[in-house]
Structure formats: structure tokens, C-alpha cells
Symmetry: C2
Subunit: 202 residues, 2 copies
């Protein structure tokens, strides 16, 4: 690229721009999306929180239910609680299932959280509903995936639903509009014994 | 998993918990991380914004410089501008390089934005510095990657630096602590002619 002249650069960019404009012009559909963030890498929850920030910045109402995080004070909760008219942020988990060791209770906790997600999805005043770590609950069969498919299948047309967590079931991937797989290229937890830190993990 | 009894489940979870506790106990290192979000999938910028939210929720000071986004009003800017003591949010781009078509100007714009990132990284009062879409600038050789490596190599010990954008150069991946590759499994822009929407892309 370094050897290209400025004139060549401008000509090439003009071509890219024309192609880009054509692509953008073809995109006319507006609809609420079903978005899944999955994969073993980091950033699944963070990217959902980033979209929540964008939405509330446009005065769109957002509901967030967290299926794993519970009582722990997180940075995201401290910020979102400053916007009570725009975002309902509900950590409804009790930690990881290996900590509770009680399947019956885990199922009950998942059920309560899921009923809250269903209520938000069914209410068209929510422009975006985030079910954080729902995939983990599905993975353990604490909730039938069919119920999730039914809820997103019947969602209001413009509502965005974002579901995070590793090991998203194939049926959910099939039903989604946009699926990103976060892949781990390098992770300091494993390689450098770095612990979970404020601002990064919570 | 369905056929396992509750007792079997509890026993298995106890094992996982023990392994997990052992792993967590080994992690004692606290340090500022160099984090890269790359790959063709979505969520690279959103995940960085999510971490900014976490950080300001812990009263950590954050600096954000955007290398592509410019004058356009975004949801993220509207929210972050509500926290002027905690976050400096600076969209310093002028759009995509195929829109400006002027390499000399693009290089000057990238340089100005980069000087701002360097200033923030050198100032230990910033706990987190985000260089959004810096990889695109590096990809076009608008900035030498060596300068970026030098700045992150000399950063204060506890400062987190987050760099986003597809096509991260290998030298940057080698220098990073944590690298996530966002892979595109399904993308409605391409497949369904869905346009960029508020709350999702901006």
C-alpha cells in the first residue's frame, strides 16, 4: 500500500466508496434483531452492555436480566442504575452452578429470571432485552430451549433481543439474525495468572 | 445431563468447584492489560464500550479516542458525556477512508487522534484507554505500528489499553495480553438487507 501514489489511492477509494454506497442503498430493512454472542472468548457480555449504552443514549428502553451474576456489586450496575427511566438492570443469578451445587434451586432461579425476560420481551415498550448468560442455563437443561424460541418468535417486530453465553444451542443460532462467536486468541487468566479485575470482568 | 440424579449432579459440581477454586487461587497477578478486539465479526467496539461502563462504575477514569467515528451523534457519546469527570470520549475520525479519498488528510487525522491516545496512555490518572478502530489506521499504514508498540510498552503498570478494529497486525497481537477474535457466524446486513440501526451500530 505504501508504494501507491495519492492519485492511485484516491481512485481506489472512489471505487470502494461506490461499491459501499451501493451496498448501503440496498439495505432498507429495519427490524428488531435476535442477536447471540457465544464462543469461548471474552467480550460476550461486554458487547451486550455496549449495545445497552448505545440504546439508552437514544432514549430507547432497555431490560437486562443476568442469569449468573447476582448480589455482587458490578461497575455496569452502578452506571445503569443512574438511568432508572431507561434501563432495568436485574442481576438475578446466584453464581455458577458449581457453587450452588443444588440443581433444583438452580432451576428455580433460572425459571424466575426467565419469566422476567419473557415479560420484558412481550412488553413492546422495551426496545432491547438482554438475557445475559442465558446460554449457560440452556446448556445445563435448566430451561427448555423451545420456550426461548417461542418467546423470540413472538417478540414485537422492533424489539432487539440479545442472548449471551458460551455454547449457544444450535436451534438458537438457527433462529437468530446475527451471531458472533468470540474466539479466544490469548487470555491472561490462563497464561499469566492474572485475576479478574475491576473494569474488565465486573 | 437429564438422566443424572440430583446427588450425582451435586457430586459433579463439587468436583468442578474444587478445580475452579484451585484455578482462581493461582491467579494473584493484578496488572493493566493490553487488550485487542479484532476479527470480521461484530462486537469489537461494543465490547470495549462495555468495559468502559464497568470501569466508570468503579470510579476509574477512562479515555476513549475513536479513529473512524466523527461528528455523527452516537448513543454511546450521549451516555458517556453524562460522566464528564470519569470519561473523556473523543470521536476524532472523519469517516471511512473511502469517504475522504484523501490519504494525506487521513494520515493527519490519524496522527492527531494518536497523539491524544499517547497522551492518555502516558498519564497514569487514566485507568483505561480505548483506541477504537486503531487497527484500521494501522492496516492502511497511516501510522507506524512501532509507535503503538512503544506507547503500550511504556504504559503505566496498572493502565488497561484496549485497541479495536479488524485486521490487527501480528506485532500487536504478539504484544497483547488478551486478544479476542470476533467471528461472524451470521450477519443480517449481508443476508437480510438490514440497515445499521440505532442502539445496535451507533
Amino acid at each position: 500500500m505504501k508504494t501507491r501514489t495519492d492519485a492511485e489511492h484516491a481512485a481506489k477509494m472512489k471505487k470502494i466508496q461506490a461499491a459501499q454506497n451501493k451496498k448501503v442503498a440496498a439495505k432498507t430493512v429495519e427490524k428488531g434483531l435476535v442477536i447471540v454472542h457465544t464462543g469461548p472468548g471474552k467480550g460476550k457480555t461486554s458487547a451486550a452492555l455496549g449495545m445497552a449504552v448505545r440504546a439508552i443514549g437514544h432514549d430507547m428502553k432497555v431490560g437486562v436480566v443476568q442469569f449468573v451474576k447476582g448480589a455482587m456489586a458490578t461497575g455496569e450496575k452502578a452506571v445503569f442504575d443512574r438511568f432508572p427511566d431507561l434501563i432495568e438492570f436485574k442481576p438475578m443469578g446466584e453464581g455458577f452452578t458449581w457453587d450452588t451445587q443444588d440443581r433444583t434451586r438452580d432451576i428455580a432461579v433460572a425459571r424466575t429470571a426467565w419469566e422476567e425476560v419473557k415479560r420484558m420481551i412481550a412488553d413492546p415498550s422495551y426496545a432491547m432485552v438482554i438475557a445475559d448468560e442465558l446460554n449457560i442455563v440452556l446448556r445445563y437443561d435448566y430451561l427448555p430451549v423451545g420456550e426461548v424460541l417461542e418467546a423470540i418468535g413472538g417478540k414485537p417486530h422492533m424489539t432487539h433481543v440479545i442472548i449471551t453465553g458460551r455454547n449457544a444451542p444450535q436451534e438458537l443460532i438457527d433462529a437468530a439474525d446475527l451471531v458472533t462467536e468470540m474466539a479466544q486468541v490469548k487470555h491472561p487468566f490462563r497464561e499469566q495468572n492474572v485475576k479478574a479485575q475491576r473494569g474488565i470482568e465486573f
